[in-house]
Symmetry: D2
Subunit: 423 residues, 4 copies
């Protein structure tokens, strides 16, 4: 990669890092991607609802929250045409490159940040070098690097003798496991012969490539709202039906769902809130949680038990409960055919020192929806790990990527795409 391209990628990544936006609120991010794509020049460029099946979105925040970020994006210079196309929180971009005859290859990168604040530590590089987040959110999982991969790969492919069709999806809302299904359901990737996805970091150092990541935990996100009956806690405690008691019983018993002998399972009622005042028996309480399983079946086991626990806890305390699905992803597996190619490509890539054939994610990812879709249509898919030295862990305040790993990611992906096209 040329110094010029490297500098552009770094500058682009830092700009994205300064303006992180959480799930379904990537307005300014979408605008910036469109800018870059227009500057590179692509054959087709779809934005927002042209790419997203809006009804299949999960984890969409409320209107007020969307509006807040929408206005902030406008203030931060987002283009009006892009704002129009993404209104209501239908974000994301699909760029298509067509060069001669050849297979259709998809690349999926995710673009959203996390709703957490970034470290203010002077030793944290984004602070030291002036590109710390300017919003309430933070790119604490490297999606700024992923977005940069997507744009870098397009730039490389356009300049190459690649023959075929490349579809790069800039997917919103991965962090809430809410965007993958919406893109899968749009059908835009149904003609792909192959699909690649990638993730930076994951405790692999700079110079290490994992040719095929597996061990995606299938996941289900839900939101349960308990409704009871309020009453004055001093004067009429017996008249209330206590939503916080129901929630507490649910939390305790959710964590206690039996382990499963067939493999790893998880449960985390990660966000709770309830009640309005100390002297009122709480009328409502809300619990956002998730269950996971090493397989889609294990996720289903956890989900079934969790729903039973929640419903019984409500009933136990005379409450009703409304449970909504707000995110979901299946398990998936990288195909051997691509993993071999990636492994081969990586061995020859500048800056790569170690290539692992396979590693396990131990987490969830809604790229699996897209991988499964392509695989169900007879194609192949792989999820590639791009090592980077990262000082803080993923999702923590001091997460950061080593920018010297950016060209490695771009090169491995571009070269793999070309090899797939030539097969």
């Amino acid at each position: 990669m040329s110094h010029g391209q490297y500098d552009r990628l770094v500058s682009l990544r830092r700009d994205l890092h300064r303006h992180p936006e959480p799930a379904w609120r990537e307005f300014r991010t979408t605008s910036r991607i469109v800018d870059e794509l227009e500057s590179i020049g692509v054959d087709t460029l779809l934005v927002g609802s042209d790419l997203i099946d809006a009804d299949s979105r999960m984890g969409v925040p409320d209107d007020e929250e969307i509006d807040r970020w929408y206005e902030a994006a406008r203030d931060a210079g987002a283009r009006e045409d892009v704002l129009d196309q993404t209104a209501g929180g239908v974000t994301g971009v699909l760029a298509v490159i067509q060069q001669g005859e050849g297979p259709t290859i998809g690349l999926r990168v995710d673009i959203d940040g996390l709703p957490r604040s970034e470290s203010t530590d002077e030793n944290h590089t984004p602070v030291a070098e002036g590109f710390r987040s300017e919003t309430d959110a933070m790119h604490a999982c490297g999606h700024d690097a992923h977005t940069t991969y997507g744009l870098g790969v397009i730039e490389s492919i356009v300049e190459s003798d690649f023959e075929g069709t490349l579809k790069v999806v800039f997917q919103p809302a991965e962090e809430v496991i809410g965007g993958g299904k919406a893109i899968a359901e749009s059908g835009q990737l149904d003609d792909c012969d192959h699909l690649l996805a990638a993730h930076v970091g994951l405790d692999h150092p700079t110079g290490e490539i994992v040719a095929g990541i597996d061990g995606f935990l299938a996941v289900h996100h839900f939101e349960a709202t308990f409704t009871g009956e309020p009453a004055h806690a001093g004067a009429q405690p017996s008249k209330g039906d206590n939503a916080v008691q129901a929630l507490a019983a649910a939390v305790q018993n959710l964590y206690a769902i039996p382990r499963h002998e067939d493999g790893a399972t998880r449960v985390n009622p990660g966000v709770i809130e309830g009640g309005s005042a100390t002297n009122i028996i709480p009328e409502t309480a809300r619990l956002e949680g998730e269950v996971r399983g090493e397989t889609t079946e294990l996720k289903a086991y956890m989900q079934e038990r969790a729903m039973r626990v929640i419903e019984s806890a409500a009933e136990m305390h005379g409450c009703t409960v409304d449970i909504e699905s707000v995110g979901d992803a299946p398990s998936a597996r990288s195909d051997d055919e691509i993993v071999e190619i990636v492994s081969d490509v990586a061995s020859d890539t500048d800056g790569v020192e170690t290539v692992l054939d396979r590693d396990s994610l131990g987490g969830s990812e809604d790229a699996t929806y897209l991988m499964q879709r392509v695989q169900d249509n007879g194609g192949t898919a792989a999820y590639i790990g791009v090592g980077t030295d990262h000082p803080g862990g993923h999702h923590t305040a001091t997460f950061d990527v080593d920018e010297t790993s950016l060209p490695i990611g771009v090169d491995v992906l571009s070269e793999t795409i070309q090899r797939l096209a030539n097969e």
Copy 2:
């Protein structure tokens, strides 16, 4: 009472009802009271920190919340001089009338609203007659009527041949049990020979007076913040120390504190929140709660057990917990001497049909701090119930007072004050 005075009281009460402000945010309310007092003419008028021991305030909201109401009060026409005197949430007024030689008699009324929204039902009188709350808060416990009593009593006493000193306290932050102590600690009522307080409603109909209310539950409000260790819920569940698990264990076991054979006790962890995302093991969780007891000893029993439950729940899940007191009130009892006078006065008051000597509140009130202070100094105190037909229960969206009960409250209080002065 003249038609003119009645109309003024109703109009005043409706204005207060339209502009409810919660604890320590009664800026516009304080301003309106000052306006009225200046119009009546009083001998001394203390506002905010002249009256309040700011360090003894409990349940003070955060700066952002105070600022929001401060600005809203300004927008709603609060006087700049009053805003200056109450800056930072030091609200409330003390008015003093001195007429000749005689005992010093205190009257305490409370002025804060509740942080809940008011009904929009067409049949709800404030809706039908156009004085529904214009803020997020609501006068759902009749403190608009209490404030009106205070002003009506001053008006009556000023025009009477009362001889002595009358000190009327317009107390903020009763709903969070946070204002009584701050006024007691200021010492402003230490010279009172007698103290009266009053409450409207309490399920007594218009025309009924309770000469002495007892059965105040002593109460303690606390806020517990659990801190654990975050971790990715999918990839590293064992690395987290889960603050929401600690909170759920605490909630379940708080409600399970054994009943006490010596009398009524209460417990309500009424407000909870915790966690940041479904895929992160929750690092923090916060619980606001209260315990009560029929006596100060029973409250202490509940408080001791509650603290043990909370601390053990934290330890059980590897968390730390920080517990803060945010409100407190002792139990109290109305003195027979005053109760007899009130009973006598009430029997002769226009509009009064039934007089009960004693009744039990079954709730908490921080007027008890002031009653106890005056009693400890050798004075006497009583808490008077003024019946009113109220369609909805206290603290509910459809609470409202029957305005024909307003003059009854004013008359009983004024006449009692005069009788006490003449003894």
Copy 3:
């Protein structure tokens, strides 16, 4: 009372104390009572099923347990005719004295011990003086004294000029709240004009009499058996439905049933057992518990909530639950007419120093079934407290009665019966 009668009473009480038998297992006790009654001479003597409506018994232990005590009673010298009449655990005696014309007056005393072992402390009088319990059970609530009252009263009345009918019921199974209903349902007390019952101790010292005890908590005993699905805890944890988890959820949430503003309530899941081995997901778990209320309505409130908690806890963990009633008693109140007589009598009784008109029990008693029955039939009833210095609390290992209080109890009861007959 003569020295001779006093010595007989003490000797009788010590013999009973040495042979305590728990509920529905009072075979040797029944035999000893029959011996005494035959020695005194009574007009009618009913034993076991002649007196007890066997189907209305509650809290009956299983056959094996009954058999064990039955054989032990035989070994301890119980009469074969009495063993025949009480076979299957239908214990208890009714003695009737008829002397001339007059009202029918009932006296109910209870005869069962508690399933707990007695102290072996050298300072414990029964140890020091050689009458410590010889069984696994213990007279830790003074029913040995009550039985002695019954026999002493009969002895006194027979020798007096009493005119009327006296029916003394020696009731089994008070400790499990299981015998009162069975006697009430037999109808044997339906012709009583007045009914007396008495209890020793209750924290009143020797020389103190409570003329009328009230504040009986209505009570309901239940037994819940959870049934799930066993599975190997190591190899197939997900295949089990865990009855111990269901029970633990039930226990936690039973203790957390909200307090009631109308008065005292109680809940105690006092006995639990479950599971068969550490490596098997527990298939069954059993919980014996009770709820109480200051009124029968409050008991009903607790019972309804408790059943909901138990059923939801079962459902939450995929278990079924079978709930059985094993004991029940209503609330009751001593009638003023008798209380006045008792108060009067007590003031004139040797050894009585203090007479309290009324006091509150704060516990439960199934004498209330009999009191209510007599009251419903137009009669009057009272429950009398006979003070005694007792070193340990009721139900503890060092409980004991001060035997100098025995004649006080006998005298107050006998004299009250005579006064009632003469009215």
Copy 4:
């Protein structure tokens, strides 16, 4: 195998099946084994404390329970000399065969039954053919077959040209994970070059052999006794410290110990009991439980968290808790060297249709103590699975072995021993 030997083995297995005895109570079983060994003739025969380090026993029942089985064994014809040697529950046998020069090879079989009753279903073979259990216990895990293997192997080896030393351990108390350590600590197997152990069934059908079983979950058994303060549940609920509340909080939170990302973990508080009467605040409660981990480290993680939960639950409810270890076993792995030999041998054995090289147990076994001991001393070890059609699952009432699999087990073990000796 000859028809004669087969018939003897079946007859022996059925006799053992009729007389199952649980852990540390295998008195009659030990006696029967000694009879057989004397009949075969062995070089050394150690019984009870000659073989067992009595202080290292875990899960030993109380004296009364041991006595009960001791007397029952005497009634069932156990030899007095064996009863003397096993008094106090020090059961088990070691038989040594020495034939010429060669390596020392150990074979460990376990001999205890489970404390559960056997099915009475007419279709259950032991019922149909008249060898159903005559005790409260049941051979529901096939240790009757294992004992038969041990005796059959000795018979075969004695008649073979085997050269070396064979040590067959008939180990007690496997079901409570309590015997393995006691034998390891005795040092009797420290000179073994190789060690074999075997298990029947495990869902493998007759004709299937697993050459090396792995996936032993390390396990820790514990017993926690909570002690609080009793009080009358009606009269003095606040005076009690409730051991059942503490236990319920512990159970709920034990099941909720977070899953571990490094592998499988388990927890099961499988046996609970507590309280004495419904009207007494429970003074004591007892919980027997276990934790497991796929590795010894994961077991340690679970154990540490479990202890913290239990201790905090006690503290939360003002109780103390005493925690005792009652069983423990590490993880282990079968060595490739032996697994290959077993695989080879099995392929050539009559009746074997399928040979699996490896399979995972998913449960725990204290043979691992012995395997680890031999491996730590430089030897090799393997755990062999012998398939059998079994109608009910392990530990259920209808478990039974297909007796045609008995000679397969004996043959595979004998031949493997000879091959190991010849290497």
